[in-house]
């Protein structure tokens, strides 16, 4: 328990010191969302219709961008090897790193999203569900991303490669996340979508750290 | 002749059935050709290299006192 907490604290401290990393992910999120009105036209009805999809897809892409911070930086300075060799429960360590990653990526995205939703003329019913779906869905992105990041450790063009590997696996999260918001906007219950998002998180929590740990061990052989 | 026309028309669905078989043929044919070419190229290069190594070894032996 203690080593895991220590790890989270260390990662958060590093992220705090390197504040620009987190800021860049948020900036990318904001910038990409802002591009859409220029691309599809500023008509409010169209933006409102595709708004949930835009917010979720860009959140997905922003989450992918920050994955190199997860393992690569530690691998470069040698601390990853230390971590793998010295941990009795590597999946727990991976889970700790995923939590730290989410706190510095998914959580800020969920906080910033409502502001961007105003720019996209999202209906009033959708705001709470938007934040809720992102809060429940972005941890799954961090977990799936950890598996991808571990697999591509040391690869050429690892940034693009990890996105290519992980994005197809995140499609169910995207479907249910947007589905929840659309349901709320149509005055229907978002509960089934949230339940499914919760199920995905429940499945990812034990499986992804284990798979990522296996990939890390293979990478450092 | 008319039977041939009927066969090609596939009950009006010819525009769907034949491209389907065509795509399958192109993809599988492509995989076969690239595979065979790869095998031929690598085995040829390997035998060339093995031959030149064998000949260089014999020439060294001949020139040795």
């Amino acid at each position: 328990m203690m080593p895991a907490l220590e790890l989270i604290r260390r990662d958060l401290r590093l992220a705090w010191r390197q504040g620009t990393d987190v800021a860049m992910v948020i900036a990318f999120f904001v910038l990409t969302v802002v591009l859409f009105p220029f691309g599809v036209g500023p008509e409010p009805n169209i933006l409102a219709r595709i708004g949930p999809g835009i917010l979720w897809v860009t959140a997905l892409l922003a989450a992918m961008l920050s994955l190199d911070r997860l393992f690569q930086a530690d691998h470069d300075d040698g601390s990853l090897e230390q971590l793998v060799l010295s941990s009795p429960a590597l999946p727990a360590m991976v889970l700790a790193k995923c939590l730290a990653h989410w706190l510095t990526t998914g959580l800020p995205l969920a906080v910033v999203a409502p502001i961007l939703a105003i720019l996209l003329n999202l209906g009033a019913d959708g705001f709470v569900v938007l934040v809720g779906s992102l809060l429940l869905g972005t941890p799954v992105l961090s977990l799936l991303g950890a598996v991808g990041a571990a697999l591509t450790l040391g690869a050429r063009r690892a940034g693009v490669l990890v996105a290519l590997l992980v994005l197809p696996l995140t499609i169910p999260v995207l479907i249910f996340g947007v589905g929840a918001i659309d349901a709320a906007l149509a005055d229907l219950s978002s509960r089934p979508h949230f339940l499914l998002l919760g199920a995905l998180l429940a499945a990812a929590l034990p499986l992804c750290p284990w798979a990522a740990a296996a990939a890390l061990r293979q990478a450092l052989e | 002749m008319d039977a041939m026309g009927g066969f090609l028309a596939m009950g009006g669905y010819g525009a769907f059935v034949w491209p389907a078989y065509g795509i399958a043929a192109v993809v599988l044919g492509g995989l076969t050709l690239t595979g065979l070419r790869r095998l031929r190229r690598s085995e040829a290069a390997l035998s060339m290299l093995a031959d030149s190594q064998a000949s260089s070894r014999t020439s060294v032996r001949d020139s040795a006192p």
Binding site: V147, L151, T152, G154, A155, R156, R157, A158, L161, L164, L165, P168, L169, I171, A211, A214, A215, Q218, A219, E221 | F7, M10, G11, G12, Y13, G14, F16, V17, P19, A20, Y21, I23, A24, V27, L28, G30, L31, T32, G35, L36, R38, L39, R41, S42, E43, A45, L46, L49, A50, Q53
Partner: protein, 241 residues
């Protein structure tokens, strides 16, 4: 049995002997299946002649799953027993699997347009097969993204095993969810649900595709073994100088 084929030379000998048989039998089944499927089998009561697309669509879909299963097993063998040929087998399964998946997706689309009225629909079966296609491409990209080929092979092996959760989803998606794609008619409890006049050419095409896959796999694995020998010889030569 596995360990007998750890020796590449022995494997190459067996592969070279096996290859012409696979090719010959495959061509024979292909000819028979095409003849029966295109000429002798009846048109469907509801679907008319479009049902003939089934004779390429279904076998290629079967192969898409079968090749992935092979790739996953080879990957497991490579990771657990470090069998030297398992890595090479897994790596060369991926392009073949991608090809079969592409055929399944394209022919399915061509079948769907006249039958369902749409080229594509985001139901569980089609979406999970599309994800399978991306998994194959991702595997190929991952294995080739490392300067050290054994590192690439290990990463690909882990990816293949992780992605195998997709296989049961594909197979049972038409049972679990209400999808546009029709439910299983051949591999199901209770036996096949289609007429033997259609089942026979379907199975012949399935056998033909399987044998073709084995033949192509042998061709590519032989080529890869030769390529690695080449690289080794060239490196040794450079070291001599």
């Amino acid at each position: 049995m596995l360990h007998r084929f750890a020796n590449p030379t022995r494997f190459l000998r067996v592969a070279a002997a096996l290859q012409p048989w696979c090719v010959g039998l495959s061509l024979a089944c292909l000819a028979g299946g095409l003849y029966l499927g295109l000429l002798r089998s009846p048109a469907d009561y509801q679907q008319g002649d479009t049902v003939r697309i089934m004779y390429v669509h279904v076998p290629s879909a079967w192969m898409a799953l079968f090749v992935y299963a092979n790739m996953a097993i080879a990957s497991a063998v490579a990771l657990i027993w470090k069998h030297p040929l398992a890595d090479i087998l897994a790596k060369n399964c991926a392009p073949l699997g991608a090809g079969f998946t592409l055929i399944a997706l394209a022919t399915g689309s061509l079948w769907g347009k006249p039958m369902w009225g749409t080229w594509w629909v985001w139901d569980a079966r089609l979406t999970s097969v599309l994800i399978l296609f991306f998994l194959y491409l991702g595997h190929m990209a991952l294995v080739n993204a490392f300067d050290d080929p054994s590192r690439g092979a290990r990463a690909g092996a882990v990816l293949a095993l992780v992605g195998s959760v997709n296989l049961p989803i594909i197979k049972f998606s038409v049972d679990w969810w209400n999808t546009l794609h029709q439910p299983a008619s051949v591999l199901r409890i209770g036996g096949p649900a289609i007429h033997s006049a259609m089942l026979t050419p379907l199975l012949m095409m399935g056998v033909a595709f399987t044998l073709l896959f084995v033949a192509l796999l042998l061709v590519n694995v032989r080529a890869e073994i030769a390529e690695r020998k080449l690289r080794g010889l060239r490196l040794a030569r450079a070291a001599e100088v």
